[in-house]
Amino acid sequence: MARELMTLVTQVYCNSITKKQNQTLNVRVNYTYQGPAKTARLGAVVTQELVSEFDEIGSTRKEFSVNLPESITPTSSYSNITGMPLSGCEAKSGYGIKVYALDLDGKPEWGAKKVLTVQSVVPSPEINVTSLSLS
């Protein structure tokens, strides 16, 4: 029996992290799989809450293939999605993360809100008065 098509993001547990714009984000996806041996694609993208809760920031998207071995019963496994660029994210807090699977029935999506803070790599304007000279 195929799983019902999921139209909403299922919220799952995720830790919070702070990253700079010139760093990349890595996501370890912990999942269970039941089904025949398949090659599917897993993707991840940074999200922000604008119109909806999980509006995607396309420049951060990363996808890769994963070989899912046949499993009669739900079997735990994980995959790492690495190197998500954060340069397209303005420095702020409150970013979310969403992962999704392609090439499987439906398009399941999972995510967490407000787990990522991105910091700017440009120094804030700063003036230091080192001395004063009166005349």
């Binding site: 195929a2 547990y13 992290i17 370890r28 996806v29 269970t32 799989y33 089904g35």
Partner: protein
């Protein structure tokens, strides 16, 4: 002149010549002959390249004569008569004068009958004929002397009970059309019934669960689940037997099948395996495809 009613011997005359076969030794087995015919019950297993060594013994009352003894090998036909398969193998003998007391004689050397023409016979017989001048032939037939046909050994699965549903097997394979709804946590209880003809044998029955592949053959998904049985001696009749308890086949490795099948195999040492397939026995549904993310870890 009076005449004895019993001996039919005229008073004052010599008794008439009398010949009879008293016995015959076949390949060293002595068969007494109280009458013209005898069932030896020997059924000596022979090949067509073999021979029979036959030594008749006889009794004789009468004047000296030269006689011939001829022997043919054949079989007992459907009418109960002797049908020869070989030519006659003949030996001359001298019958001495023995007017009063029966003379007991025996061939000094066996008559050898090649069985080249006697293949595929299960009830071989021989016919021994004494030809004496001026007398009617004395004919003796000895039944069930040899067999050139291998004893019948046959086995077949006649039916298989699956979870209380009996599937008859008129051939090796059968479409059970049961399609029992199962899960991978379930199992099948399988009890084969069989027919056997042959000598006492140890055997084993193995069952695997699988499916019918795209070539129409059986592809196993489970291992073999085996039971050892003893087939009793049943030479003349077909023995009908059944396992006393079912063999349970777990379906844990048989998920996602819409056309589950069974393979039932009988193994007997020295005999080719007897293999039956039962198609469309069970279903375990199409394998569910579920990817479920449990958590994410950012780094």
């Amino acid at each position: 002149m009076s005449e004895s009613d019993v001996m039919k011997v005229s008073v004052g005359q010599k008794p008439p010549a009398v010949f009879r076969f008293a016995g015959v030794t076949i390949d060293g087995n002595k068969v007494p002959l109280g009458n013209h015919d005898a069932d030896s019950g020997l059924l000596i297993q022979k090949k067509v390249t073999d021979t029979l060594e036959i030594i008749p013994s006889f009794e004789w009352v009468g004047p000296g004569k030269t006689a011939t003894i001829s022997i043919k090998a054949g079989y007992r036909d459907w009418a109960g008569n002797f049908t020869p398969k070989t030519e006659a193998y003949t030996r001359n003998i001298e019958l001495p004068e023995s007017p009063d007391t029966p003379y007991s004689g025996v061939l000094e050397e066996a008559i050898t009958i090649p069985l080249t023409a006697c293949g595929d016979i299960s009830d071989g017989a021989i016919e021994i004929v004494a030809k004496l001048p001026g007398m009617a032939d004395y004919i003796t037939q000895v039944w069930n002397v040899y067999a050139t046909k291998a004893p019948v050994v046959s086995f077949r699965f006649s039916a298989v009970d699956i979870d209380g549903n009996t599937v008859q097997l008129t051939d090796h394979d059968a479409d059970s059309n049961l399609l029992l709804s199962k899960t991978t946590a379930g199992s099948l209880s399988v009890t084969p019934a069989f027919e056997w003809q042959g000598s006492k044998k140890a055997a084993s029955i193995s069952i695997k669960a699988g499916y019918k592949d795209w070539l129409g053959g059986f592809t196993p998904k489970s291992g073999a689940y085996t039971r050892t049985i003893e087939l009793p001696e049943s030479i003349e009749t077909v023995y009908q037997g059944q396992l006393t308890s079912p063999i349970s086949i777990p379906l844990i490795a048989c998920g996602g099948l819409a056309d589950g099948a069974l393979e039932v195999v009988l193994k007997i040492a020295g005999i080719s395996d007897y293999i039956s397939h039962l198609w469309n026995v069970y279903t375990t549904g199409e394998l569910a495809v579920v990817l479920d993310v449990k958590s994410l870890a950012l780094s």
